[in-house]
């Protein structure tokens, strides 16, 4: 069973966990069915190519040299990366040689288990027990930060009944503020913004300040997309973080890095360099609804120990989902 929002967030029991507006509560069963159907269709798209290949190799015929090579190919094609692929296949091969597993089906079950193990790393939940909890979204241009924040705000407001304030600290990209304002309207939450080109730190500061004043549960700060190689922009990000900490000592409590599932091995560099600038607590793996399999998330989890917390599997509001390691591994393999 896929993880649900309540599994992702740590809230104190006192808070009304799933009371949204009346309409959404009444629609709940209907919406959930819709969601599972959507998840299935979306994941099946993701599954198709890789799944077919692995099934043919692992479940048919004898396990031989070819099996490993084709398995390697399948993982590489999923952007898992040469290093992680070599590790996984090597381990599997030695387990098979040692007689611990035999037969295609057991092999593919073990493989899914191994992939899920890699994906399941560190703290994979988001602690919302601060008042307010400050979440900062960072990432390379075009990875889907603003969209993710908009959907996250909507879920927090509507599914968890929390009060959210958005901070539009992407003061660089033309019309980024308007884009976030659009989301704020949909989610029905407050938004704090500054003029284009203004200091992102001051917008973030103001957002957290207002969040406290308004008694918000969660403040989500959007930042401008930036390439991890731009030292000055990375320094700016560190500054935004410091400015937020001036309002609340241990804030931001959660820094989420959005990674586009289409990204190849450079994703590892992104995660590494962003974590050097600001401690990254979790990955949001976006755009999983295409044919890309987002295997780079496995490499990031495996090599840097950063957990994937959310996935984006489509354009609709319900398409931002808590990440589930087993589901993901299955999606890659079945």
């Amino acid at each position: 069973m896929a993880r649900d929002w309540s599994d992702l967030f740590i809230t104190d029991g006192a808070r009304p966990a799933t009371i949204g507006d009346g309409a959404s509560l009444a629609d709940e069963p209907e919406r959930r069915r819709g969601f599972f159907k959507r998840l299935r269709t979306n994941l099946s798209k993701t599954r198709e190519a890789l799944g077919a290949e692995i099934q043919a190799t692992l479940l048919e015929g004898d396990v031989d040299e070819d099996t490993w090579e084709r398995l390697e190919e399948a993982l590489i094609m999923a952007d898992v990366g040469a290093a992680t692929t070599a590790r996984v296949v090597g381990e599997l091969e030695s387990e098979a040689a040692g007689g611990a597993i035999s037969g295609g089906e057991a092999l593919s079950r073990r493989l899914a288990g191994m992939l899920a193990e890699i994906a399941r790393t560190g703290e994979d939940r988001i602690d919302l027990r601060h008042a307010p909890t400050v979440i900062m979204a960072v990432g390379v241009n075009g990875t889907g930060k603003t969209t993710t924040i908009g959907k996250l705000a909507w879920h927090l407001q509507h599914e968890l009944g929390l009060k959210v304030v958005l901070g539009a600290a992407d003061t660089f990209r033309a019309a980024a503020v308007q884009q976030l304002e659009g989301w704020a309207r949909r989610a029905g939450c407050e938004i704090v913004s500054g003029p284009e080109g203004s200091d992102p730190g001051s917008v973030a500061f103001e957002a957290v300040r207002q969040g406290r004043e308004l008694g918000a549960d969660v403040v989500i700060v959007d930042t401008a997309g930036r390439l991890h190689t731009q030292d000055d922009l990375m320094a700016e990000l560190a500054k935004v973080r410091r400015v937020i900490a001036k309002q609340i000592d241990d804030a931001p409590h959660e820094t989420l890095l959005t990674v586009d599932a289409t990204t190849g091995q450079n994703g590892l560099r992104q995660a590494k360099l962003f974590s050097e600038a600001v401690p990254v607590d979790g990955i949001v793996l976006t755009k999983l609804d295409g044919t890309a399999k987002g295997g780079i998330a496995l490499a990031i989890a495996g090599e840097l120990g950063i957990a994937v917390k959310l996935i984006g599997i489509g354009e609709a509001l319900e398409d931002l989902r808590p990440f589930d390691a087993d589901d993901y591994a299955q999606a890659l393999l079945t």
Binding site: A175, Q230, T262, G264, N266
Partner: protein
């Protein structure tokens, strides 16, 4: 330990020279490194496979006794094949015989279409003196139209927009009429990002294409794209038959293997590269440079070319002998310095100097002006002084300083550093690898 493919290859093939020929085992070892490097660069698995088999064939027949060491030889073959695969010349957009020239932009969400649209407009306005208009056909992403209006305004292009209520196909058709009416040379049609598997939206793109009959269709591809680049390119090629590719976000540190994959599976050239946040950071694409970037061996290759012309094998052997016997003089130093400087910036060459291969010198920063000074100082020495630096004291020092337009401190420093270097050479000759940076710091 080794960062670049060329270093890896040289390590892999280090013992080949003594044997004189590349065996199949050597070549296989080299191919494994090449395969890994290409995969790390996100070149598609299948493209890598066919590429390495081509390279392997050429390597098996290669002569390894030339002026290059076997590692360099293989790097050269890889580069030649890679450049051939990328396409030799840089292609660009066609202009319609009857304006307006229409360019249709297509791509996934977040690939950078809107920014690229404005950058391309600016490029065409400055490089081709064209009057450019933009059509805002992304009615889906919130504020996409606003964004195009803003960046379009920044580069001074006219932006045709009708908000987000109308059908993108109608907007495109209307914008084309506007461009004709306004006598624009070029109309660039910005479209919404879409997934290549989204039938409805791909269908819409086909309709836009039919409506505006573009002169050129450009696919915008993020330089950081992984293995999926092939699927994306094939699907877009099937739907809208794009003519060329615009690589975005090339200012990052992605090796950009996607460029190679896209070229290999569709045969369409990469035309433009977007290389920064600013709207003027945009250029024609250079296939040869990309080939080098993918393998992370840029300057090494130009060194190889130059080395082939400059370094005489015998001279190098003689130098090595002198180094080992500690007969290295200021005269040798000067001739080495001159020879190296003929090849270009020293920084990029350091790792390749005979006897210095590998990582030891990688982090040493070279100041070219410092080299000018060193040359001047040596040239102000008498031949005897050059051979016997221990003579350089008192009035000789002052004379050399005056003659070279430097100071006594500079002369002292050089003589001291030279002494350090001789010591270092001696150690190298014995096969030890001292901490070079520490020595350089000491010398100062």
């Amino acid at each position: 330990m080794f960062d670049t493919l060329s270093e890896k290859l040289q390590a892999t093939l280090s013992d080949v020279r003594s044997r004189g020929t590349l065996t199949e085992a050597d070549v296989n070892a080299a191919m494994r490194e090449i395969r890994l490097a290409l995969l790390e660069a996100d070149v598609n698995f299948k493209v890598v496979k066919s590429f390495t088999s081509t390279v392997k064939e050429r390597c098996l027949g290669a002569d390894v006794l030339g002026k290059l060491n076997p590692g360099q030889q293989v790097v050269k073959i890889v580069d030649e094949e890679l450049t051939a695969l990328m396409g030799g010349e840089s292609a660009t957009v066609d202009f319609a015989s009857r304006p307006p020239t229409v360019i249709l932009m297509a791509g996934l969400q977040g690939s950078g279409k809107t920014t690229a649209t404005a950058k391309l407009a600016r490029y065409l306005m400055t490089e081709h003196d064209s009057s450019v208009a933009l059509a805002a056909c992304d009615v889906y992403r919130p504020a996409a139209v606003d964004q195009l209006v803003k960046v379009g305004g920044q580069v001074g292009a006219t932006v045709y927009e009708q908000g987000i209520e109308r059908d993108p196909v109608d907007i495109a058709r209307w914008a084309l009429d506007q461009a004709k009416r306004d006598g624009k040379d070029v109309l660039i049609v910005d479209t919404a990002g879409r997934l290549h598997v989204d039938e409805k939206l791909m269908d819409e793109l086909v309709k836009i294409r039919k409506a505006v009959k573009p002169t050129t269709v450009l696919l915008v591809v993020d330089a950081m794209t992984g293995q999926d680049a092939v699927n994306v390119a094939e699907q877009f090629a099937g739907a809208v038959a794009f003519d060329g590719v615009l690589m975005s976000k090339l200012d990052g540190d992605a090796r950009g293997g996607a460029a190679l994959s896209v070229k290999a599976v569709t045969g369409k050239p990469i035309m433009f590269a977007s290389t920064g946040e600013k709207l003027d950071q945009f250029e024609r694409f250079h296939p040869d440079r990309m080939a080098q970037r993918i393998l992370g061996m840029g300057d090494v290759l130009s060194f190889i070319e130059k080395a082939e012309a400059q370094i005489d094998e015998d001279e190098a052997k003689e130098l090595e002998r002198k180094l080992r016997r500690n007969e290295f003089t200021f005269e040798d130093f000067l001739s080495q310095l001159k020879m190296m400087r003929k090849m270009g910036p020293l920084q990029s060459l350091l790792g390749m100097i005979p006897g210095f291969q590998g990582a030891a010198l990688k982090n040493v920063k070279v100041d070219e002006r410092e080299l000018d000074r060193i040359e001047a100082i040596i040239l102000s020495m008498t031949p005897l002084e050059r051979r016997r630096p221990d003579l350089i004291k008192g009035s000789r020092r002052l004379r050399i300083a005056r003659g070279s337009g430097t100071s006594v401190q500079h002369v002292n420093q050089l003589v001291k550093q030279f002494g350090q270097m001789q010591k270092l050479m001696k150690q190298l000759g014995k096969g030890k690898m001292p901490d070079l940076q520490a020595m350089m710091r000491q010398g100062r």
